[in-house]
């Protein structure tokens, strides 16, 4: 069973909504059936084959090629299989995904992995705002799985996150982990203003510069034993972890005291 390959013929004039691009669904479909799957081009209902050359079928290993930054919902809600985006991905890539592996070779637009529940979303480039976050009106953002970002992350990373792990090799924007309910966010660069505001539980671990909000209280400087597991797992998955982080101590800030103060910001020191 070979891979299914989709090649976008040309960048669409208006955003193309293609939540049908899911490897777990492709496993049961022939090449012709995949080409007939519905997409939205602006307000117009079209078929996937109107925009993509489709090669292969009956496989849950899918590669998508072309200028995809205007293609939305790639791999959204996928529950299994492997999807590789050879380039940038449009908004909502991997949103709500529950399983499988989604790898984006370039950058991911806003809402990458929003409200994802499981699986692994790996972005080799940057992610924009609200990665792993919650949609407006939703109680929970990311509720499981692993979001791995090799570049930087935008604002509101993991907002209202409830479970799972987000790791960012670069820096994160403002309000990372805002209103977080549980889970772990690890950033290996700097984070912007107001990290973890309104956080109830969960951990924000920062290895670069960070200024905890005033509603956090310094507790102690120590070596959280669980972080060794996280760092080793992230390194195993190919995230570049500097050697100095493996044995370091962290300043622990408890908070957010404006909320249920059972969370923490762990700021790496030496």
């Amino acid at each position: 069973m070979g891979a299914v390959v989709l090649r976008l013929r040309a960048a669409p004039a208006v955003p193309l909504e293609a939540p049908c691009i899911r490897p777990d669904h492709f496993a049961a479909l022939s090449e012709a059936e995949i080409a007939r799957l519905p997409v939205w081009h602006g307000s117009e209902a079209r078929a996937l084959g109107d925009f993509f050359d489709v090669r292969g079928g009956h496989a849950d290993d899918v590669r998508v090629k072309g200028e995809l930054s205007r293609v939305k919902h790639l791999g959204a809600e996928m529950a299994g299989g492997r999807l590789v985006i050879e380039g940038d991905a449009g908004p909502h890539a991997g949103a709500g995904m529950a399983g499988g592996t989604l790898r984006i070779e370039g950058d991911a637009a806003a809402w990458a992995g929003a409200e994802m529940r499981g699986g692994v979303l790996e972005v080799r480039g940057r992610v924009r705002a609200y990665a792993g976050g919650a949609y407006a009106g939703s109680r929970w953002g990311m509720a499981g799985g692993l979001l791995l970002v090799h570049g930087d992350a935008g604002d509101f990373l993991g907002v209202r996150m409830r479970r799972g792990t987000i790791a960012v090799a670069g820096c994160a924007g403002e309000c990372a982990g805002a209103e977080m309910i549980a889970g772990s966010i690890l950033v290996f660069g700097d984070v912007g203003r107001r990290p973890g505001f309104g956080l109830k539980r969960g951990s924000i671990v920062v290895h670069g510069a960070v200024e905890p909000p005033p509603t956090y209280r310094y507790a102690c400087t120590y070596r959280p034993p669980h972080l060794a597991l996280y760092l080793r797992e992230l390194a195993r998955r190919g995230l570049p972890i500097e050697e100095r982080f493996l044995g370091g101590a962290y300043r622990r800030y408890n908070g957010d005291f404006a909320e249920l103060p059972r969370g923490e910001i762990l700021a790496w020191t030496t």
């Binding site: 479970r163 539980r201 951990s203 959280p224 034993p225 669980h226 060794a228 080793r232 797992e233």
Partner: protein, 302 residues
């Protein structure tokens, strides 16, 4: 059969079904990991007397542990799954949680059965504990005065084999001890087994029940006590030239591990001063695992 002038009795070691778990203890240094492991495996020589048998399986390099620190693998055996669960909670709670810098992880993650360990010990955190989930595994961070104790939520439990044994019959106590030490060292090198008695060796081999004291579950095995040779009511099992006997008892994660360790132990124990190597059994009534000594050696040579 003879090896190096030592007779190998044509008999079998009788072992029985138990349940097993493996704990991986890590700490800042190998010495502290070993301290915790020793405390956890203390007073765990006999299922009958201690409700648990446990021992140190191996020292682990940092690369082989979940958190990249030096570690020690401990095997623990009980009669049933619930026994494994209870003993793990007691011993991790009293011996590992208390030990500076330690953490404790499941060493049988692929076992089909799971027993709660961190899920129970977390209550020591009195509401301040926090959980972390990494992939399929869940951990508890329990606040302690030094920082945090990290323990895995549940541990794998699997059927194991308990009570494998060898009996070394020697001309004198020195020869018996040297042979036992050599055998224990060889047996410990086999993965998946532990020898729960002190140094891996027991001098007080027992029989089931008692001739005189009905309340006793076990009492001295007079047939192997050289001081009782010739006493009325004693059917000695000892040849004339035997003046000291030591026993090695082992538990394993499976019958193959026990068999390999027994074979290694027999080979290592065949040295000057040892007259005969035998094994303890109850005529096949105690357990379904029968390790015939001659067959073990034949399998190794094959």
């Amino acid at each position: 059969m003879e090896i190096e002038g030592v007779r190998i009795r044509d008999t079998f070691a009788e072992a029985f079904d138990v349940w097993a778990a493996r704990a991986v203890i890590t700490a800042r240094t190998p010495a502290w990991a070993l301290e915790a492991a020793r405390a956890m495996t203390g007073f765990a020589t006999s299922l009958i007397g201690c409700k648990v048998e446990a021992g140190i399986e191996a020292a682990l390099e940092p690369e082989a542990t979940p958190d990249g620190r030096p570690g020690v693998a401990v095997l623990l055996f009980a009669f049933d799954r619930d026994g494994v669960a209870k003993r793990l909670v007691e011993r991790v709670g009293q011996a590992v949680l208390t030990c500076p810098t330690s953490a404790c992880f499941d060493g049988l993650p692929d076992a089909a059965e799971r027993v709660p360990v961190g899920a129970r010990l977390r209550y020591f955190g009195d509401g301040f504990q926090a959980s972390k989930r990494l992939g399929p595994r869940r951990f508890w961070r329990v606040p302690v005065m030094e920082g945090e104790f990290l323990v895995e939520d549940s541990f794998g439990a699997q059927p194991g084999v308990g009570g494998g044994n060898l009996i070394l019959l020697a001309r004198d106590a020195d020869a018996a001890l040297e042979a036992a030490e050599a055998a224990a060292a060889a047996m410990r090198r086999v993965p998946g087994v532990v020898l729960p008695f002190p140094g891996g060796v027991a001098r007080s081999g027992s029989k089931v029940g008692s001739r005189r004291y009905k309340a006793l579950a076990a009492s001295t095995n007079e047939a192997y006590c050289p001081t009782l040779r010739g006493r009325l009511g004693v059917a000695t099992e000892l040849p004339e030239d035997v003046n000291a006997v030591l026993e090695l008892v082992l538990d394993g994660l499976d019958a193959a591990a026990v068999a390999a360790a027994l074979a290694a132990g027999i080979r290592a124990a065949c040295r000057p001063g040892v007259v005969e190597i035998s094994a303890g059994n109850y005529g096949g009534k105690l357990g379904r695992h029968h390790f015939r000594l001659h067959e073990l050696l034949a399998a190794v040579e094959a």
